[in-house]
Symmetry: C2
């Protein structure tokens, strides 16, 4: 049975599905059933502290994105660290956060069906800090109807297309007209602007990324000023992410930054380049998957029990932790193969060995697991439910 | 709230976590909260029937792989259709099937840690049809110890490396010696051979695939005869899959075929070529993801609410169903973009429209969802829990 379903291992049922589950007897990291999604607590806490400290005294605040961790336990820590609220990508993800007691949840993607808009409005009734984004006039009118029917005032931000060409309305007259529609609505309040430049987060080279973000976010700030001239109060201009956390915070007019990956880091972010060097090392990799070497049919490699169902495959593959000369490649849904590039190297993995891997793309990797095993000094004392796992609706 | 957590929609709690959940009022397919994983029941049932009919009168039987669907409801149908048992990729997946009452579960991947071997032995105690594969001597001895301690006789198959170089022992003396170790053990029984040629399943062109499979599986059959000459009874030689279901069944000596994807098909399998033409159309795509068009920031394309967290990304992208001239590309974790290749074409998708997509690689796509919404005539009457979702341990 899995750890979660083995009552003798667990001290007491958690009070809700969101709380940490305390193990009766702490476990060694190396005894977890693999593949296991673990968090190096020291590294994650160092990332949290670094971000918190960096933002002290900045005008911009943090609004971390829960789509990365999908875990109310972590969202609560981010709020304690001074975040103005959190982001959720989808309605069902926001529902988890609200149920778990997290306030000020911004749903960062447009929602257009009646069923989902009604869920949003119900959520806003429960938690007045819930806010949404829109990029079309019809959507504003539909939300207004839903909010009026439910008797709530719903804060609405305009989602600006700042170059992703994925969601958002064009800056200028289209967005200004949309703001007017919101202003004239009966049950919506104009909450400000979202300018998420996702396409800039992984640009390689800090200076290049800085120029691109300043230009892109600069246009959003300009538009904010235009709205203010037109008589709008614009309480929020939210955007940015881990790739621009130390750029967007200094752009005057941006109120908060939607960081996510800084918590965990991953192989992809390391390679985008940091302020201080060619590797982005501002934060430490803390999301690690424990695997077991289960078979060795050929020399120079060994097979581990973690494949496409254990790691995100949309970006670079995972990377063995502290095993120079060893690389991972996917070998189907259930397996991966560690290849020893330099047979003379010090790295050696034997049958039955446990191997920690730095996660590939962190957000979709987290989305494959039901729980984190946080560890410190190689000891696991709690299980953290990933309550938002699979909540893509 | 999600459908599963909305009691009013559900007629009665399912008797177990594995049974269908009946909706109080049937829903239209088009009203499901998106992204939703749906099954076109007519197509899936046609696939089941075609495979069942094809195998009637064949010497080889079917041993479907549950790693594809992870759903005991479907496994039961496959058993009713005459399968000799099912496969599970991992111990936790096998636990789900056994708990749900499925007999004869073969775990197709080696398991080497003490904790997992103990779980396997406990499972075999519950369900005597549980069998495992091994590819190393130490593993055989460890299993023997675990089985003896638990007082069970555990059937053990030898996993042959027939070219995947992923798991399995070399054919010939190494495998023969391993069979001797099993024979001499006190608590294991020699269950036969597994020869899974995963690397052949997607070879393009039926004739090419046929020659490759006949050569590869022929070596396994030869080895089976060698074992028999050495005095072993070899009750099972299992292998093959959807790509070779109509090849391996006619190779004398193969006892059963591990088909999986035939149930659902996917974009990748279509392109490998069938017996009757360049497209592999023996089975119909039945695994469809319902999405919603939520934003249109640029002409000639539209954004849907399903991205990397809604579709497997390891092989070809999903394909819009019945929308010629429209293609899908990933646009991050939460979104995809439909591109209209031919603006003069008949296909048009408008904001708010629901779009059905043929799933990308079926197994890891299923692994992203908690439930199927099976439909017939665009009506959904039940929800099927994907009880094995995330069970990669």
């Amino acid at each position: 049975m899995s750890l979660l379903s083995s009552p003798p291992l667990v001290e007491a049922a958690a009070s809700t599905a969101y709380d940490p589950i305390r193990l009766k007897v702490p476990m060694s990291l190396w005894d977890l059933p693999t593949p296991a999604l673990t968090i190096d607590l020291e590294a994650m806490e160092s990332n949290l502290l670094k971000m918190k400290t960096f933002y002290q005294g900045k005008k911009a605040k943090l609004r971390p994105h829960t789509k990365t961790h999908k875990c109310p336990i972590i969202a609560k820590r981010q709020i304690e660290d001074g975040a103005v609220g959190v982001c959720a990508a989808k309605v069902s993800e926001a529902e988890v956060m609200v149920e778990a007691g997290i306030g000020n949840v911004l749903i960062t993607s447009p929602v257009v069906t009646k069923e989902k808009m009604e869920r949003v409005v119900a959520l806003a009734k429960k938690s007045p800090g819930v806010a949404i984004v829109v990029d079309q006039e019809k959507n504003v009118r539909d939300y207004d109807d839903a909010a009026r029917a439910a008797g709530v005032k719903l804060p609405v931000l305009i989602d600006l297309n700042v170059g992703t060409d994925r969601t958002g309305i064009a800056i200028g007259k289209p967005a200004l007209d949309l703001a007017e529609v919101i202003r004239k609505s009966s049950s919506l309040t104009f909450g400000g602007l979202q300018a998420y430049a996702g396409h800039l987060m992984h640009l390689r080279g800090f200076e290049y990324r800085k120029q691109a973000s300043e230009a892109t976010m600069g246009r959003a700030v300009e538009f904010k000023h235009a709205l203010e001239k037109a008589g709008f109060e614009v309480p929020v201009l939210t955007g940015g992410g881990t790739g621009t956390y130390n750029i967007d915070c200094d752009i005057d007019g941006i109120t908060d930054v939607q960081v996510g990956s800084y918590l965990f880091m991953d192989v992809n972010y390391r390679n985008v380049g940091g302020k201080d060097g060619p590797l982005y090392e501002d934060f430490r990799p803390s999301l690690l998957v424990l695997t077991t070497a289960i078979s060795q049919p050929a020399k120079g490699r060994i097979t581990v029990d973690a494949g496409v169902k254990a790691f995100a495959t949309d970006q670079e593959p995972p990377d063995p932790l502290s095993l120079p000369g060893v690389s991972y490649r996917f070998a189907g849904d259930e397996h991966g193969i560690l290849e020893f590039r330099d047979p003379r190297g010090p790295a050696e993995v034997k049958l039955g060995d446990k191997v920690l891997m730095i996660a590939s793309h962190c957000d979709p990797t987290v989305n494959l697991y039901d729980q984190y095993y946080p560890f410190r000094n190689e000891r696991v004392e709690e299980i953290w439910p990933i309550a938002g796992r699979g909540k893509s609706q």
